[in-house]
C-alpha cells in the first residue's frame, strides 16, 4: 500500500513539474522564442518563415489581433477588443508581418475635395486644416505607397494639435473609419486603430467644420493579410474566457453559437493556397451536433475539413487527386491507412474538452476563401482557439506547432 501511495505521489509530483515547465515554456518573455527570432506573442510564425508563404494564422486567443467590428462606414469607429464578451468582427491574419509605411505624405496625395483649406504642412507628415467644411478631404495613396491587399488594415499614431480651437466637439475622420473627437484645445497623441485602406488609399476627412487643426502622422503601420471577418453583429463569435487545468490557466477563445456565427476571409484567387497544405485548429465542441470545422463556402459540398458526424463513414474531408486524408487529434492519428471517417473524428472530439485537430498535405489549391462556424446544417457549437493553415511542414515543426496551439488552450501535447 505504501509503495502504491508513493508511486501516486511521485506521479503527481512529476505532473506538477511538467505543468510548471509547460507554463514557463509558453509564457511570454521566454528565451526560446527570442532565440528563434520570434516575437513573444507570435509563436507560430515559424510556419511561414518569410510571411509570404501560403496560408493564414488566426488566433482567437489573442485580443490584440481582434477587432470588435468590421464596419466600413464612418460611424462609431472600429476598435480592438477591450473586454471579454465583446463580438469579434475581425480576426487579423497574423501570418503576414505588419508593414511600416513611409511618412512622406506630400508626395502621395491622390485626391482632394473641398474649400482649399486643407494643406500639407511644412513637414511631409503634417496635414493642416485651417478652415475646412464638413466632408472636405485629402486622399493619400492611389496604390503607390499602399499597394496592400484590399482588406488590409492600418494603424496610425497621430499627434493632433489645435491651439486655437474654440468650439468643443469638433471632429474629423482619419481613413474611412474612426472619427477623432477633439474636446478642447491642446496637443494629443491618438492611436487610430484599424483604419481601412480602400482601393489603395486612405482619407483624412473633415466630419464637421474644422478650424485650425494640425495633424501629424507619427507612424503608419499596415496589417496586410487575409483577415477573418463578419459584418453582421448577431453572426459574430463572442470572445470568451475560461479556466482550465490544475494550474487554473486562463484560456481565451472565440465562442460560436451554432446558430449563425461565422467568420470568413474575403475571396482570394484560386491557387493562393497550394496543393500541399497543413491545417491545425484548436477547437472545443460544447454540443453533440455534427459539424464541419473549416470550409471554403457554406454547403460547397467539396471544400470542407474536419467533418465530424456520429457513425458516419464519410471522410473528414473530401478526397482530392486520390489522396487519402488522415486526421490527427491531439497528435494521435485516427483510423487506419485509409481516410479518417467523420464518425472516428466525432468520437475523438469529446464534448466540452479542447482538442487540436490536424490535417496534413491537403490540396487547397482550389479554395478561394477560408471560413469557420456556419457550414450549413453542420454548424460549430463551441469554441475556437488558433487556426493555422500553412505549407506542409516537417514532423518536427508539426509537433512544435501542435504543442504551442494546444498549450494555449491548456493541453499538454
Amino acid at each position: 500500500m505504501a509503495t502504491r501511495n508513493g508511486m501516486v505521489n511521485r506521479s503527481n509530483q512529476i505532473g506538477r513539474v511538467n505543468e510548471r515547465k509547460n507554463r514557463d515554456f509558453f509564457s511570454n518573455n521566454l528565451p526560446f522564442r527570442e532565440a528563434n527570432g520570434l516575437a513573444p506573442d507570435l509563436p507560430l510564425q515559424f510556419l511561414w518563415p518569410t510571411g509570404a508563404e501560403a496560408g493564414g494564422y488566426w488566433d482567437f486567443g489573442n485580443s490584440g489581433y481582434q477587432l470588435t467590428t468590421n464596419q466600413v462606414t464612418a460611424t462609431a469607429g472600429d476598435f480592438r477588443l477591450s473586454a471579454v464578451g465583446q463580438t469579434v468582427g475581425i480576426q487579423l491574419d497574423r501570418k503576414v508581418r505588419p508593414v511600416q509605411h513611409s511618412l512622406d505624405l506630400s508626395s502621395r496625395i491622390s485626391g482632394y475635395s473641398g474649400t482649399s483649406a486643407q494643406t500639407i504642412g511644412v513637414n511631409e507628415n503634417e496635414i493642416t486644416f485651417t478652415k475646412a467644411a464638413a466632408g472636405d478631404y485629402i486622399a493619400f495613396g492611389a496604390g503607390v505607397e499602399f499597394p496592400v491587399a484590399e482588406f488590409s488594415r492600418v494603424e496610425a499614431v497621430l499627434l493632433i494639435e489645435s491651439p486655437t480651437l474654440t468650439v468643443n466637439g469638433i471632429n474629423f475622420i482619419m481613413g474611412n473609419i474612426g472619427s477623432l473627437l477633439i474636446l478642447s484645445p491642446g496637443r494629443y497623441i491618438y492611436t487610430c486603430q484599424s483604419l481601412q485602406i480602400v482601393n489603395g488609399q486612405f482619407i483624412v476627412q473633415a466630419f464637421n467644420a474644422i478650424n485650425d487643426v494640425k495633424l501629424t502622422v507619427l507612424s503608419l503601420t499596415g496589417y496586410p493579410g487575409s483577415h477573418l471577418q463578419q459584418g453582421t453583429t448577431t453572426a459574430r463569435p463572442i470572445s470568451a474566457i475560461e479556466t482550465v487545468g490544475s494550474w487554473n490557466q486562463s484560456v481565451y477563445s472565440g465562442r460560436f453559437d451554432g446558430v449563425d456565427d461565422e467568420v470568413r476571409t474575403p475571396v482570394f484567387v484560386a491557387g493562393s493556397l497550394t496543393n500541399n497544405m497543413d491545417v491545425f485548429m484548436a477547437v472545443k465542441k460544447t454540443a453533440a451536433a455534427q459539424s464541419v470545422l473549416l470550409y471554403e463556402t457554406s454547403a460547397s459540398g467539396t471544400k470542407y475539413m474536419f467533418l465530424n458526424q456520429n457513425g458516419s463513414p464519410d471522410p473528414v474531408s473530401p478526397p482530392s487527386g486520390g489522396a487519402a486524408w488522415t486526421c490527427f487529434v491531439d497528435g494521435v492519428q485516427l483510423g487506419g491507412v485509409a481516410n479518417t471517417t467523420a464518425g472516428e473524428l466525432y468520437d475523438a472530439l469529446t464534448i466540452n474538452q479542447w482538442h487540436v485537430v490536424e490535417l496534413r498535405n491537403i490540396d487547397m489549391s482550389g479554395w478561394i476563401a477560408v471560413a469557420a462556424g456556419n457550414y450549413t446544417a453542420h454548424r460549430h457549437t463551441g469554441n475556437i482557439g488558433i487556426i493555422a493553415v500553412c505549407p506542409a511542414q516537417s514532423d518536427a515543426n508539426r509537433t512544435l506547432a501542435r504543442r504551442i496551439i494546444g498549450a494555449q488552450v491548456g493541453l499538454l501535447l
Binding site: T68, G231, T232, T233, T234, A235, V259, N374, T376, A377
Partner: protein
C-alpha cells in the same frame, strides 16, 4: 463605454412567411451590422420545407428595446428610411404580422441549441 455594456443577447426566430420583412427591418435599422441576418434555416423535422429562420447574438440595447413592439419598430424604420431618403418597403401591418409569429428570447445566451430544441426547431440543410 465598451461594447459589452451597450449590447444584449437575443435569440430571434421568425417564420419563413415573414423573414423578408425581418431582413428589411434589420438591414434598415442597422445598415452596417444588421444585413444578412436570418440566414440559418430551421424546421420541426430538420428537413425542407423551412419554417423558421434564426439569428442569435449581441444586438444594441436600443435595438433590443423596440423588439416586439410593432409601432416603435415601424416608427424607427420610417425614420431610418427618411434619413437615408429611401422608399419604405414594409408596412406596419407586415411588422405586426412579423411579431405575431416571431419568437424572441433573452435567456438563450450560451444555451442557443437547447432553446432551439425546446422550441422544436432543427437545422435544415439548405444552400443559402
Amino acid at each position: 463605454m465598451n461594447e459589452s455594456q451597450t449590447q444584449v443577447h437575443r435569440l430571434l426566430a421568425v417564420t419563413a412567411a415573414t423573414v423578408q420583412t425581418a431582413r428589411e427591418l434589420c438591414k434598415t435599422l442597422a445598415p452596417s451590422s444588421g444585413d444578412n441576418m436570418f440566414i440559418s434555416s430551421y424546421s420541426a423535422t430538420g428537413f425542407a420545407p423551412v419554417t423558421h429562420y434564426v439569428s442569435a447574438g449581441l444586438i444594441s440595447k436600443q435595438f433590443a428595446g423596440i423588439l416586439g413592439n410593432a409601432p416603435a419598430t415601424f416608427s424607427a424604420y420610417q425614420s431610418a428610411k427618411a434619413s437615408a431618403k429611401l422608399p419604405e418597403l414594409v408596412t406596419l401591418a407586415q411588422v405586426e404580422a412579423l411579431y405575431a409569429t416571431a419568437i424572441i428570447r433573452d435567456d438563450a445566451f450560451g444555451y442557443e441549441q437547447i432553446v432551439l430544441n425546446l422550441l422544436g426547431l432543427k437545422p435544415v440543410a439548405e444552400v443559402k
